[in-house]
C-alpha cells in the first residue's frame, strides 16, 4: 500500500451513485464448481466490442480443445477457440443475451477431456510462480493475449490486447485491476479472488509489465473482506497494491474505479489511457496469466448463478458457449417464483427468454429474479423530483435525456451529453415515477450516433 494510503491515493469512493440491496448472500462463499462438459456448445462469432471474427473451420471438421475456430480480422476484435474437443456442425444462428442475432459456430462434443477438479487445475490451478514471469517481453505478453482471444470478462467484453499494448501512444503509469463486482447478486469475481488469487496476481503483474505501469492496484469493495485477505496473501513480493473501496454502485465502472482508486477523472468522451491508466477485470487478469504462462486460450470462465428464482445458486466454471438453460438445469432448475432470467447482474444485465442463449465471454452471471424483485408497475409522468440527477454517477440529467429521446430532440440530447451515459441504471432504479429512463436514453444514444455518422 505504501504511501498512497489504504485507497491507493483516491478517496476510496466517487460522487453520487446508489446503494441497492446487495443480495449477494445467495451465492457468497459457494466454492466454484466445474460444470460437466456439455454435449454441444454454440460460439457466436461476435462476443466482444468491435468487429466479428471470421470462421477458420468447416462443418464436420474435428477440433481439439483450445484450437482456433475464428480469427479476429479487425484491430478491435478477438479470436475464438474451441472450448471442447468435438466436431463442427453446420453454420448456425443464435441470439446473444443482448438480443442480437448472430451467426455462430456450433461444436458437438466428442471427447469431454478433463473434467471436475482436473479441469479447474488446468485453468486456474497453481503454481503461478512470480519468479519466472519477469522473463516475458512486453510484446510477447501482448501477442499471447491477442492469440488467446481475451476480452474484458467483467461484462463489457472489450478486446484486452487493445488495452494491454506496449505500443500505445499514451504512456501508462498505473494498471488498475477491477475486483469491485458492484452489481447486486453477483459473486463470481469475489469467489475467484478467494480461490485463485495467485492467477490474478500473476496476470496483473504481467499486464502491468506489458503496459509499462509503475504501479498495479487491485480495487476491491469493502463488502468482500475474504477476497481482500486472499489477494493480500498472494501479493508476495510483486509490489501489487490492494485498495479497499467503500461499497457503492456503480464502482465497477472503469471511470469511477479510477476516480475511487487514484482520484483522477477520465475526461468526458476519453479513455483511461488519457490519464495514464490501463484497467482490466480480475477474471481477465487470470486469463492473461494462463495465456502467457501456459499458452492456453480463453475457453472457460467463472459465472455466478443466483437469485431467488433458481433452486440452488452456485458459482460455476463453465465452457464458453454452454446454453443458459443447461446451466440452470445444473443448478436445480427454476423455482416456482422465477419471473425473469437475466444474463449478467440485475442492474445492467439483459433479460433472456430463450434457453438456448449461449454464455459468451462477457457473461458474468445468470440472475433469476422473482415477481417480487421486479416491479412491473406502469410508468407515470415525471414530477421532476431530481432523484435521477442526484444519483447519476456521470453527473447527467437523465430525465432530460429521456425527454430528448422521446421527442427526438437531438440538440437537447447533445447539450446534455447523452453519449456520456454508460447505462448503469442508477436513475431508473431511483425513479419514483418508474420511467424506463435507461431504455429511453439508449434510444436517444442510437439517434445521436446515427445523426453523427451521417
Amino acid at each position: 500500500m505504501g504511501w498512497f494510503g489504504p485507497h491507493g491515493g483516491g478517496g476510496g469512493t466517487f460522487a453520487r451513485g446508489i446503494h441497492p440491496p446487495a443480495n449477494k448472500h445467495f451465492s457468497t462463499g459457494c466454492a466454484i464448481e466445474v460444470v460437466p462438459c456439455p454435449e454441444r456448445v454454440v460460439l457466436p462469432l461476435q462476443q466482444n466490442v468491435g468487429g466479428p471474427c471470421t470462421p477458420v473451420v468447416k462443418p464436420r471438421q474435428k477440433v481439439a480443445w483450445g484450437e482456433l475456430v475464428g480469427r479476429g480480422e479487425a484491430f478491435v476484435s478477438s479470436a475464438l477457440h474451441a472450448p471442447v474437443a468435438g466436431t463442427v456442425e453446420r453454420p448456425a444462428m443464435t441470439t446473444l443475451p443482448n438480443g442480437r442475432h448472430m451467426p455462430a459456430i456450433a461444436i458437438r462434443t466428442e471427447d469431454p477431456g478433463l473434467t471436475g477438479q482436473d479441469l479447474w487445475e488446468a485453468v486456474f490451478g497453481g503454481p503461478w510462480s512470480n519468479d519466472c514471469i519477469g522473463s516475458y517481453e512486453p510484446q510477447q505478453i501482448h501477442e499471447a493475449i491477442l492469440e488467446a482471444g481475451i476480452v474484458g470478462l467483467g461484462g463489457a467484453a472489450f478486446p484486452t490486447h487493445v488495452k494491454i499494448n506496449p505500443n500505445t501512444q499514451k504512456p501508462i503509469h498505473t494498471l488498475v485491476v477491477n475486483g469491485c463486482e458492484c452489481e447486486p447478486y453477483l459473486t463470481a469475481d469475489d469467489q475467484l479472488m478467494r480461490q485463485a488469487p495467485d492467477a490474478i496476481i500473476a496476470g496483473a503483474f504481467l499486464a502491468g509489465y506489458a503496459v509499462g505501469a509503475r504501479r498495479v492496484v487491485i480495487g476491491v469493495e469493502d463488502n468482500k473482506p475474504e477476497a481482500v485477505e486472499s489477494l493480500r496473501r498472494a501479493v508476495g513480493r510483486t509490489g501489487i497494491e490492494v485498495a479497499v473501496l467503500k461499497t457503492k454502485y456503480p464502482q465497477g465502472s472503469e471511470k469511477h474505479l479510477i476516480k475511487a482508486v487514484l482520484g483522477r477523472e477520465v475526461p468526458l468522451g476519453g479513455l483511461p489511457a488519457d490519464v495514464g491508466v490501463a484497467i482490466g477485470n480480475v477474471g481477465t487478469m487470470a486469463a492473461v496469466a494462463r495465456a502467457v504462462v501456459r499458452n492456453r486460450p480463453l475457453t472457460h470462465r467463472v459465472i455466478c448463478v443466483t437469485g431467488a428464482g433458481v433452486a440452488r445458486p452456485k458459482n460455476l466454471m463453465v465452457p464458453i458457449g454452454i446454453s443458459i438453460g443447461e446451466i440452470i438445469d445444473y443448478c436445480g432448475g427454476l423455482t416456482a417464483e422465477a419471473a425473469r432470467i437475466v444474463a449478467g447482474g440485475p442492474m445492467m444485465g439483459f433479460a433472456v427468454a430463450d434457453r438456448a442463449t449461449p454464455v459468451t465471454k462477457g457473461t458474468s452471471g445468470i440472475t433469476v429474479l422473482t415477481a417480487k424483485d421486479i416491479e412491473t408497475s406502469a410508468a407515470g409522468p415525471c414530477v421532476r423530483c431530481g432523484r435521477c440527477v442526484e444519483v447519476c454517477p456521470m453527473g447527467l440529467v437523465p430525465t432530460k435525456l429521456a425527454q430528448a429521446a422521446r421527442t427526438g430532440d437531438l440538440r437537447l440530447a447533445r447539450r446534455h451529453n447523452i453519449l456520456a451515459c454508460f447505462e448503469c441504471g442508477a436513475c431508473a432504479y431511483s425513479c419514483p415515477a418508474r420511467i424506463p429512463l435507461v431504455q429511453w436514453i439508449r434510444v436517444g444514444k442510437t439517434q445521436v450516433a446515427r445523426s453523427q455518422g451521417r
Binding site: 477520465v266 468526458l268 453527473g395
Partner: protein
Amino acid sequence: MKTSGMKNKDNDKTAAANAGFGPALTEVASSPHLVESGRTTRRMMIDVLLALVPVAGAAVYFFRWPAVRQMAICLAACLAAEALFALMRRHRPPLADGSAAVTALILALSLPVTAPWYTAVIGSVAAIGVGKALFGGLGMNLFNPAMVGRAFVMISFAGALGAAGYQDPGSSIDVMTQATPLTAFQQSGVSAGLADLFLGRTNGSLGETSALACLIGGLFLCIRRSAAWRIPAAMLAAAGIIALLDTGLGVEGWTAAHHLFSGAMLFGAFFIATDPVSSPLTPLGQIIYGAGIGALVMVIRLFSGYPEGVMFAVLLMNALTPLINRWTIPTPFGGQ
C-alpha cells in the same frame, strides 16, 4: 418493451429445438431489472400529506372548526375538479396519485380562515384546472397549482382575501380578532412576540401561523427526501441575510427571526417552494431558485404595498424554472 416469446423468423428453428423457459418467463425488459422499493410518486405525495399533519393540527387548534371546514371544502372541490378535468380529457381520474389532495390542503392552509366558502371552491377549481390540467396534468404544469388558485381568488376577491380580510373583530376565536403580525407591523409598527410567532398564537393564513408545526413537517419531508432540502435551506438563508441587513440587531423589536417565523415564510419554504414539478431539477438550480424566492419575499415585504409576498415570489420563480434548468446543466464527470 415487452415481446411475448421469440417471434423472430431467424429464431424459429432454435426455438423449436429448445423450448423457452415457459410462458411466464418469456417477457423481456430493459435493464435495470430492480427498482428502489417503497419510493413512488404516490409515496412522495403521501409523505407531503403526513408532513402536513402537524400544520393542519396547529390550524385546527388555533382556528377551531372553521379550519376543518376550510380544508374539507378545498379537498372536496379539488378532487371533484381533478375528476372533472380528467373525464373531460377521457382519462381515468388519477385521484389515487394523491397530488390533488396535496394541492387541496396546501391551498386550504394558505387561505385565511375568514375566506368565504365560494372563494375556496373557485380557488380549488382554478388550481386544478388552470394550474394543472390546462398544462397537461401532473408533471406538466409550469406553476405551483395551489399558488395559481390562491392568486386567482386573491386578485378576484381582493376585499375578502386582502390583508384586511384576515381580521374579524367580532369573532369568538381570539387570534382572529387581531391583525396579522406582518400587517400590524407594516401599518402600525407593532411587533408580535417571538414565542407567539413560533407557536402560532397569531392571526394569518391557516397553515402559516405556527412556525413550530411547519418546521416539524418540513424536516420530516427533507429527511424522507420527498422534498429537496436545498430549496428551503437556500430560501431561508437568503431571506435571513436580507432581513439581517435590514433590521440589524432588531430595530423597533422586529428582528430577522421575526421575519423568518412570521407570515408564510416557513410554510412556503417547506411546502410551497418544494413542489418538485415547478422547481428546478439540478442541485445548483434548486439553490438559485430557493435563494431567489427568499430574496423576492423580502423585497415584497420591505418595499411593496403588500405585507407578505411568498405567493408572488414562488410564482415568479416558477416562471424562471425552465431557464434555471437550462443555465445549470451540471458539468458531467470528466467534463471541464
